[in-house]
Amino acid sequence: MDIYLPIAGMSINFFLILGIGGLVGFLSGLFGVGGGFLLTPLMMMIGIPPAVAAASDSNQIVAAASSGAFAHWRLGNVDFKMGLIILAGGIFGGTIGVQFVKVLRAAGNFEFVMKVVYVLMLGLVGGAMFMESLRTILRSRNQGATAEVAVASEPKLGKLFAKLPLKMHFARSGLNTSAIFPFSIGTIVGVMAALLGVGGGFIMVPAMIYIIGMPTIAAIGTDLFQIVLTSANVTLQQAFVNKTVDLLLALILLFGSTIGAQFGAIAGKRLKGEQIRILLAIIVLVLTVKLFLDLVLTPSDLVSLAPAKGGGH
């Protein structure tokens, strides 16, 4: 069954999009990450123009994150004060990022820089996660009980950042810490959101837990809260400036990812934390290798259509 996407201007199999949405939803349900970093490249692989892929992806993230954010808000897991400070950083970073993208696109190498950043970042995150979970698995095999203690210890970096000026009290997270670090991490993720079309949860959540020292559940709730607002902002900008939001595409992706996420959450309950992390690390590393090969192998087509419209975050 084919469906015609009005803004992408192409006819594509309905179930292919639904399936990709389902796959990404499954992974996000399993790992608790947004999956934006998988969705945009996958959309481009099936021929959706990059600008439309990234913009519609942002639109889909608004929907996907809002249901989670709403649930966490009802359970009292959202630290609004922390969320707003990160959001301020995110909007600041996003604005810088959009300008950066504009410059790169004018030079014609946006895609190249995007892939290089992806390779560096995913390689680093994937590698670190792989080593960490491997160590945890080996340790728990040897000693059993001591594994949990290591995670519970106070993050050293967090203590250091807490000494910076602009101290604030964050009631929900039970923290007294400086606002400078949350704002900075928001800025960095904002730049990346613009450059790569990702939500940034896979960097934000570990940073909030391991560096700021927030409780895991508050970190996830707060992250979802700021993602809803950040991607709503990006969707609006894309619709105003580039006119590349394909609402129909976003809705099909949402439908698929919603169903996938339910199965992912069920599968997640049957696996141990470190098993899930090592699986995610492997997926991230495979994607890294694929992107790296794209950069160094001789392309099959030397000539390609340059995007006529702006966008691509």
Partner: protein, 265 residues
Amino acid sequence: MKRLLPLLLVLGLGYLWAAPAAAVAPEAKQKVLTAASKNLIEIGLSYRGDQIHFFGVNPVPGSDVVIRLTAEKEEDVKLSVKGRVGPFWMTVKQYEVSGSPFIYKIHTSKPLDRIISPETAQELELGYAAIKKKMKMHLARGEAAPEDADLVFKGLLKIKEEGNLYNIVQDPKRLEEAEGKLFKHYFRFPPAATEGRYLVESFCFTKGQLVGYGKDVIEIKKVGLENWMTQTSQNQPIFFGILAVVVALAAGLLVGVIFRKGGHH
């Protein structure tokens, strides 16, 4: 372009008298009567391209028929050319190409070069060689190289052929003729063929000379939801952006209520 032809003809009359061999005025020739199975293609939700059948009467029985499909609008495209920089492949130059047709298909019952001379082909813009001569390349970035013209044209052809926007079929099975007088064929309009007006022109040649000409206009337009979404997103972007966010929020919250534990997490 074709609409301008009569005007150009008048203006260029002096020139035409001086060089009669080079002048071909399709619309002054005998009319090829044609009929299309439809003249309007509507893009709806399940649109996946369409096919239109054409029937025609050859005014000069036995003459060779050449059919061409083009879009009324020409298109300006920008093409990136990749090159090696150290171990990496990245865009090293870009060309702006103008004058290339958006869609270009030709049906004949035998090879074009056995029907008309290269000069006639050039004048009537029939065949890829004529397209290549007509389109203009302008280097937008990087350093030009002598082989670029070929490289870029071949690259563009490949992109267009993969999208089924360009092709040339020289096969009697595709352009059927009965007793040298009646002919029938069909064009497939790929999903990438967007809204606009398309021209299907029939040329008849005897011994390389144009003896008949006919034209059909096919219109493609979006209808219903497709039309509404396209119009709204392009003409009322602020409303569309807000709508997209509101719809996404509503869908997300609805999902949260349905599953009670909230989507992804």
